[in-house]
C-alpha cells in the first residue's frame, strides 16, 4: 500500500514517474530509430518493386521483384493484423533469443520495433505513391541512376508526408510501449500498472496519463509543424 502521509510521498511519485518516462524514452527512441531505418526501406521497396516501378527488376529479374513485393506485402499485413498484446507474447522466444530476456526496457524494443516497422512502412508507401511519376521520368531523362532517383526524387519529395507518418508512428509506439510496460517492459506503462492499478493510487495513474497526453500532443504538433515547413507544394 502507499502512504500518503509520508513526507516524501510526492517526491516519490515524481521520481518514479520520471524514471518511468526515462525508460519509455529509451525504449521508444531506440525502436523508433530501428523503425525508421527498416520501415523506410520496406515502404520504398513495396512501391518500387511493383510492375513498372523503379526496382521492378532488381538485378535484372522481374521474378525477384514480384517475389520481394509479395513477401513484404504479406509480412507487413501480418504485422499489422496481429493485435499488439498477442504479438508481444508470440515474440517472447524470439526476444529471449535476441536479448537474453523478455523483461526490461531493452527487451521491449524487440516487439515495439516489429510492430512499428509494418506500421511506418505503410505510411511510407502512401507518401512515396503520392510523388508524381512524371518526376521519376524527368530524372531518368536527365540520366539519373536508380539510387539518385530513389533518394533525390522519391524520398526527397515524400519528406513532408514522411514527417507526418513519423509523428503518427511515434504516437503509436508510445501507446504500445505502455502496453509492454504492463508485462514487464518497464516505462510509464509499468508505473501506471504497478502503482496506479495494483496499489490503487490515482496520483500515479493520473500523473502517467497526463504525461502521456502531453507527450502525444507534443510529438503530433512537432510532426505537423515539420510537415508544413518542409512542404513547398
Amino acid at each position: 500500500m502507499i502512504d500518503r502521509n509520508d513526507p516524501y510521498f510526492w517526491a516519490d511519485v515524481l521520481d518514479t514517474i520520471l524514471k518511468g518516462a526515462g525508460e519509455t524514452f529509451y525504449t521508444v527512441g531506440v525502436s523508433l530509430l530501428l523503425t525508421i531505418v527498416f520501415g523506410l526501406a520496406v515502404g520504398v521497396l513495396l512501391v518500387t518493386t511493383e510492375a513498372g516501378g523503379l526496382l521492378a527488376k532488381p538485378f535484372g529479374s522481374r521474378l525477384l521483384g514480384i517475389a520481394l513485393n509479395r513477401v513484404l506485402d504479406v509480412l507487413v499485413n501480418m504485422g499489422r493484423s496481429i493485435p499488439f498484446i498477442i504479438l508481444m507474447i508470440l515474440l517472447i522466444p524470439f526476444t529471449r533469443l535476441l536479448v537474453g530476456s523478455f523483461i526490461g526496457p531493452t527487451a521491449a524494443i524487440v516487439p515495439l520495433t516489429i510492430a512499428g516497422v509494418p506500421f511506418f512502412a505503410r505510411l511510407v508507401e502512401i507518401g512515396i505513391r503520392e510523388v508524381p511519376t512524371g518526376l521519376v521520368e524527368a530524372a531518368q531523362s536527365l540520366g539519373a541512376t536508380r539510387w539518385t532517383i530513389l533518394t533525390k526524387v522519391l524520398v526527397a519529395e515524400a519528406v513532408p508526408a514522411l514527417a507526418l507518418g513519423l509523428s503518427t508512428t511515434v504516437v503509436g509506439l508510445i501507446g504500445y510501449s505502455a502496453m509492454v510496460g504492463a508485462v514487464g517492459g518497464g516505462g510509464l506503462g509499468d508505473v501506471a500498472f504497478r502503482y496506479g492499478y495494483q496499489r490503487y493510487s490515482p496520483e500515479y495513474m493520473f500523473g502517467v496519463v497526463i504525461l502521456l497526453v502531453l507527450l502525444v500532443q507534443l510529438f503530433q504538433s512537432l510532426g505537423n509543424f515539420a510537415a508544413r515547413r518542409l512542404s513547398h507544394r
Binding site: E137, Q140, S141, G143, A144, T148, A156, E157, H232
Partner: protein, 304 residues
C-alpha cells in the same frame, strides 16, 4: 514502322491526335521506352543498343521538357536546375555558376530562390527548359511542353525555344497536338496517325504539296460546299498586295470568281494565305485560268 530523320539544328514538329503514337515516338528517342524493333540514332549513337552507364551518359546529351513541367516541389528553382548537374557529377561551385547562368538565359534571373509552387506555368516551363539544357545537350525533346499553357505564354515559350535553338545550335524534336506550335516555330513537321507517319518534310514545302494533311490542318477552310463550277485553292506565301490576283483572274478570263473561303496564317513569321475559289465555266477556261495563276508563281490545287 516509321522513319524520321532530323537535320542538325532544326526544329521538327510531330503532330497528331492523342493515341497516334507521338508519346511512344518521343520516349524512344532517349530510351525511356524501348522500341520492339528498329533503331534510334542520336548524334551518332545508337540509343537502342545502350544500357546502364552508357545510356545515362547519352541522356546527358538529350534534354527533355514536359507538359506538366515535372519539377521537384521540394527544391528551389536553382536546386531544380542543379539536379541536372548533380547527375552529371559537376562540383558544387560549378553547379551554382552554371545554374545561375542558364536561369538568366531563360529569363528567370531573380527567381533562383523561389519554389516551383510560387511560379506561373510559363515560369515553371522556363525552369524545365533550364534544367533540360543545364548539361549542354545537343538535342531537346519537347513533350507537349506548351499544352498546359495559355496562348500568350505558349507564344513566349515557343519563341524562347526558337531563340535557344538558334543560339545553342540545338536540334529540337517536339510533339504536340497544337497546330499553332508548328506554325510558329517548326522548320519541318510530320503528321502522325495510328503509329505511322502520314507525311513529313519542311513546313513550307508541305504547304505547297497537293493534298497535304498539314496544309489542310493549318488552313481550316471547312467542308467543300456543293457548287456547279470547279473549285481550286490558291496558296500565297507572302501576301501579294501589289497584284490583285483574283480581280485580274475574273477580268482576263471572264470568270465570275466566287470566294468560298480564305485563311491567313503567320507561318515562320511570314504571312501565308490560302483562298478557296469557285471557278464557273467550261473545262478549257478553268484550265487556262489555273495555268495563268501557276505562271504567276502561285501554288494552285484543283479540288474538284
Amino acid at each position: 514502322m516509321l522513319t524520321l530523320t532530323l537535320e542538325r539544328g532544326e526544329i521538327f514538329g510531330v503532330v497528331g491526335q492523342s493515341g497516334a503514337g507521338k508519346s511512344t515516338l518521343i520516349r524512344t528517342i532517349n530510351s525511356l521506352e524501348q522500341p520492339d524493333s528498329g533503331s534510334v540514332h542520336v548524334a551518332g549513337r545508337d540509343m537502342t543498343s545502350l544500357a546502364g552507364a552508357e545510356l545515362r551518359q547519352a541522356r546527358h546529351d538529350i534534354g527533355m521538357i514536359f507538359q506538366h513541367f515535372n519539377l521537384l516541389s521540394s527544391r528551389t528553382v536553382r536546386a531544380n536546375v542543379e539536379l541536372s548537374l548533380e547527375i552529371t557529377g559537376a562540383g558544387r561551385s560549378e553547379r551554382r555558376r552554371r545554374a545561375l547562368e542558364i536561369l538568366e538565359l531563360v529569363g528567370l534571373q531573380g527567381k533562383a530562390a523561389a519554389y516551383p509552387a510560387q511560379l506561373s506555368g510559363g515560369q515553371k516551363q522556363r525552369v524545365g527548359i533550364a534544367r533540360a539544357l543545364a548539361s549542354n545537350p545537343t538535342v531537346l525533346l519537347s513533350y507537349e511542353a506548351t499544352s498546359a499553357l495559355d496562348p500568350e505564354t505558349t507564344r513566349q515559350i515557343l519563341d524562347l525555344i526558337r531563340q535557344l535553338s538558334k543560339d545553342l545550335g540545338l536540334t529540337v524534336l517536339l510533339i504536340t497536338h497544337e497546330m499553332d506550335v508548328v506554325k510558329r516555330i517548326c522548320d519541318s513537321a510530320a503528321v502522325m496517325s495510328e503509329g505511322r507517319i502520314l507525311e513529313q518534310g519542311p513546313v513550307e514545302k508541305l504547304l505547297t504539296t497537293e493534298k497535304s494533311l498539314l496544309g489542310q490542318a493549318l488552313f481550316p477552310l471547312g467542308e467543300i460546299p456543293e457548287t456547279s463550277g470547279s473549285v481550286v485553292e490558291i496558296t500565297f506565301t507572302g501576301i501579294p498586295t501589289d497584284r490583285p490576283v483574283i480581280a485580274q483572274l475574273a477580268r482576263q478570263h471572264g470568270l465570275d470568281v466566287g470566294i468560298l473561303g480564305a485563311a491567313v496564317e503567320t507561318i515562320h513569321g511570314r504571312q501565308t494565305g490560302r483562298t478557296r475559289l469557285e471557278l464557273p465555266g467550261d473545262e478549257g477556261t478553268v484550265a487556262a485560268a489555273v495555268a495563268d495563276l501557276r505562271s504567276q508563281g502561285l501554288f494552285v490545287e484543283a479540288i474538284k
